[in-house]
């Protein structure tokens, strides 16, 4: 009976105290790291006599004495607290976990001083691996710091009674400091000695509340990660640890980590690879609620044109923190961008939700706008951060934008004469431009061509032109496409365009194309009806000439594109965003009315003779209105005198 009871007791397995943990180094513990001969537990850290310090009667020497520069400490542009040197209990943990002192090196053993206990397998210092933090603590969660809660709304002190606690630091008696023992209790049998379960990031969220995280796409994800992971943990289950590593983070300053080290950048731990851990082919399992795995963005960023996230490593401080990032210091380097310049991974939603949830942007008026619970950013406000006044990840201050490129914020001002309808419906309210026949009241009639559901009251997104080319399978807004992943991440077309848009120009003596092909301008025809450009009479665009030169040739788009010159759209609509920064066009008497997005490519030259209407010699190709209020062009194409002074007159049907 007694024997049975004994067997039962032994059969219960490891005791639920420190003896059942890896910190039990006793010879009989069965742990991989264990002593030879010494069958005690506590003695590897504690001694009743002759301790290094009274609390907690520490039986080991420490790796350093008074803050010498033994450790490289965590630092970050978003860190508000100072981390000077390990203090308090953290020093004790480091005496093994920094790998400098032998695990068996004790101050006292059986009343003998300074003993080194031999370990099984010849182990001396902490073997290489995740538990060996080393003396480089830059990639570990900061310790021995007094959290500066006032400086950061996304930091809070652990509530009273929480297992996560502040501990004593450099001020005796003051429990005000984050130490190893804030999150770990070295005696606990729980996983990694955590003071509480970190399922779904519960431990991290004790101090890092991260507003907006609950219900965000990443938090709600039911996709398993890794895709075939042994425990079936989902991204949401992993919580913070899906992207962050409190120890041995590969990207030091944000403690990021990735399992995807195979992506071909010279810095495998670059922050974009953290995203690619999931956002690659087969990166996660299929989220049953969404019927698909995490969108494969890695492939997008490997395409011909893409937002160059790979050019820099962890270059940009996320703008969704409470910190003002340091301004870009060198403006002459190659354009670069980071995932966090457009997305806040703590709050991001999936389409049709707000992919820019929790971001900051720049408004049409140039001010900073914040996506919060009340206001959603508009997509272009995110784009303006780089494609506006400055390469600014924030406002203000921002360095002045260097010369070159165009300022999209100015281009899309609704007060402009002409612009693609991004901020507001366009100024050209002609029904002939759009590919939908709509009623004068603006209501769709139901016979919208190609079903693109656009009319003259519509607005479009930047991403309706700049997007994954797979979305070209559907006319109209790219968001109507069943293909993905959507967004201006990368495209096999030039300029990150959603579909082909050729800007090839000819040379003197040769037309740009051998013949007209709509595929050269497939991008435009996703929204604009090609038949409007090529048709005659009713179905024509309002760029026409009454009594044109031959049947069907009164449609001057047809004339330019097909019949005469095989021109590209680009020749006359050089900047399709807007006319506002047109540098090669002399507008005569048209500004303030409408300019039909006409602005000439650089190879279009001014006409070498006097203007027939005004007698002057414009220095630039002219697009104007005659004294009789009739539009006309006055210019040379490809160095050829294409105009005879009569045919330059453009006659709208409804002046």
């Amino acid at each position: 009976m007694i024997a049975l009871a004994l067997v039962l007791q032994l059969g219960l397995g490891a005791p639920a105290d420190v003896r059942g943990t890896k910190h039990n180094l006793a010879a009989s513990s069965g742990n991989a790291i264990r002593a030879l001969g010494v069958d005690e537990v506590c003695v590897f850290c504690h001694t009743p006599h002759g301790a290094y310090q009274s609390r907690p009667v520490w039986n080991r020497d420490l790796s350093y004495q008074d803050g010498a520069s033994l450790y490289a400490l965590y630092g970050s542009t978003t860190l508000d607290s100072s981390v000077v040197r390990p203090t308090g209990a953290s020093k004790l943990c480091l005496s093994c976990h920094d790998g400098t002192l032998a695990i068996g090196s004790l101050m006292n053993l059986d009343a003998v001083r300074n003993v080194t206990v031999p370990m099984q397998g010849g182990v001396t210092t902490m073997p290489a691996g995740r538990t060996r933090l080393g003396t480089d603590l830059r990639n570990d969660h900061p310790i021995s710091m007094v959290p500066n809660v006032a400086a950061d709304p996304e930091i809070q002190l652990p509530p009273p009674g929480d297992p996560v606690r502040l501990r004593e630091g450099s001020t005796p008696g003051q429990k005000d400091t984050v130490q190893c023992t804030s999150c770990h209790d070295p005696h606990l049998t729980s996983y990694k000695f955590l003071v509480k379960d970190n399922d779904r990031g519960a431990l991290c969220l004790t101090c890092h509340p991260k507003p907006g995280w609950l219900g965000s796409r990443h938090e709600a994800s039911l996709a398993t990660y890794p895709a075939n992971g042994p425990n079936g943990a989902t991204v949401g289950d992993l919580g913070c640890l899906a992207c962050h590593a409190p120890h041995n983070g590969q990207s030091p300053s944000r403690l990021l980590h990735t399992n995807n080290l195979s992506v071909g950048t010279p810095r495998p731990w670059a922050e974009e690879n953290v995203c690619f851990s999931c956002h690659q082919p087969g990166g996660t399992g299929v989220d049953p609620a969404r019927g698909r795995a995490a969108p494969d963005l890695l492939t997008q960023f490997q395409k011909l044109t893409h937002h160059p996230v790979e050019l820099k490593t962890d270059e940009h401080q996320p703008v969704f923190t409470s910190h003002l990032p340091a301004p870009e210091t060198t403006l002459n380097q190659r354009k670069h961008v980071e995932c966090v310049d457009c997305h806040n991974p703590h709050r991001v939603q999936a389409l049709p939700g707000n992919v820019h949830e929790g971001m900051k942007g720049i408004s049409l008026s140039g001010g900073e706008v914040v996506d919060d619970e009340v206001n959603d950013l508009r997509q272009y406000e995110v784009c303006f951060r780089c494609h506006g006044d400055a390469f600014a990840t924030f406002v203000p201050p921002a360095p002045t934008r260097p010369p070159g490129g165009s300022n999209k914020r100015l281009e899309f001002q609704p007060t402009n004469d002409s612009f693609h309808p991004v901020p507001e419906p366009g100024r050209n309210q002609s029904t002939y431009l759009n590919n939908v026949d709509d009623a004068p009241d603006g209501q769709l009639r139901g016979n919208d061509w190609q079903g693109n559901r656009l009319n003259r009251f519509s607005t479009v997104l930047c991403s309706d032109c700049h997007n994954n080319e797979a979305t070209a399978d559907t006319p109209g807004s790219a968001r109507g496409s069943p293909s993905g992943p959507k967004g201006p991440h990368g495209s096999s077309n030039a300029r990150l365009l959603r579909a082909s848009y050729s800007t090839q120009v000819g040379t003197p003596g040769g037309a740009p194309f051998g013949g007209y092909s709509p595929s050269n301008f497939a991008l435009c025809f996703l929204c604009h009806d090609e038949r409007r450009l090529r048709g005659v009479s009713v179905n024509r665009s309002n760029f026409f000439q009454q009594g044109g030169v031959g049947a069907g040739r009164d449609n001057l788009h047809q004339v330019h594109l097909v019949d005469r010159t095989n021109a590209a759209c680009h020749e006359c609509h050089y900047n399709v965003h807007s006319n506002v920064q047109a540098a090669n066009t002399d507008y005569r008497n048209v500004l303030g009315t409408d300019t039909h997005l006409v602005n000439f490519a650089p190879n279009v030259r001014p006409f070498p003779g006097p203007d027939p209407y005004y007698g002057d010699r414009p220095a630039l190709p002219r697009y104007g209105r005659t004294p009789g209020n009739r539009p006309y062009c006055f210019l040379s194409c490809h160095g050829r005198d294409a105009m005879d002074g009569v045919k330059t007159v453009y006659l709208p049907p409804n002046p």
Binding site: E40, V41, H46, P48, G50, Q53, S54, R55, V57, R165
Partner: protein, 242 residues
């Protein structure tokens, strides 16, 4: 005056259990040498630690420099100083017995001296000095002035949270002790607690840890004079539920 004239009143000595006696006999705490005994069996080995109690004034002549001293001054144990501060010890009776020899003179082992000799750094000294007691409150406190003396050692002269979860560790700003960290009654495991009233009943909040909580100076099978074996840290875990 002969030894026989003295009256021993130390209760524990009245009837020492024989097995203990034999262990003591062979131990290093037999200062006559292993197996040796005093010719006078009445005091024998006990006197080395337990000071034989003499009736005040029974034998000693009055001190010549102060022949008129009151009778109570005839006892050495006039420890209470009516004008001075008392020693900051709560339960220290038995611990003083230990420390009065363990200073590397009579005893080779000088427990309370050794820690700082090699290891305690200046900042730790300062830190220990800042730990203070809050009298009258339920702190598992190291008494003022005492911390520095036993620094580097397991605390002695401190209360044990017996039957009370209201203790805090080392001072008023400290976090409350989780009762989960402590065995409910280490006496059940063979360890010993002491009362600050020298009684055998330990009131909640009045149970203290002394050297002899873990050590039995009368000899045990577990060196050095341990009440429980060190193997798999049975001794430590007798109090600490870690």
């Amino acid at each position: 005056m002969t030894a026989a004239a003295r009256l021993l009143v130390v209760a524990a000595l009245a009837a020492p259990p024989p097995p203990r006696a034999s262990l003591l006999d062979a131990s290093r705490h037999n200062f006559f040498g292993p197996g040796a005994h005093a010719p006078d069996a009445a005091i024998d080995l006990c006197q080395f630690c337990h000071v034989p109690n003499r009736l005040p004034g029974a034998a000693a002549p009055p001190p010549r420099w102060a022949p008129d001293a009151p009778p109570q001054a005839a006892a050495l144990d006039v420890r209470a100083d009516p004008h001075g501060q008392p020693l900051p010890l709560r339960f220290a009776g038995s611990t003083l017995r230990c420390l009065s020899c363990h200073d590397s003179t009579v005893s080779r082992i000088a427990i309370p001296f050794r820690p700082s000799s090699t290891s305690l750094r200046g900042d730790e000294v300062a830190a220990d000095r800042h730990r203070r007691d809050a009298p009258g409150d339920a702190y598992l406190a190291i008494p003022d002035g005492w911390a520095g003396r036993v620094m580097g050692n397991h605390p002695v002269g401190v209360p044990y949270p017996l039957g009370s979860g209201g203790y805090r560790l080392y001072g008023p700003r400290a976090s409350p002790l989780g009762t989960d960290d402590w065995q409910a009654d280490p006496r059940l495991r063979g360890l010993k607690l002491f009362s600050d009233r020298s009684g055998f009943v330990l009131p909640a909040g009045g149970a203290g840890v002394e050297c002899a909580s873990c050590h039995d100076p009368h000899g045990t099978p577990h060196r050095p004079f341990l009440r429980l074996p060190k193997a798999r840290s049975e001794l430590c875990l007798g109090c600490h539920a870690k």
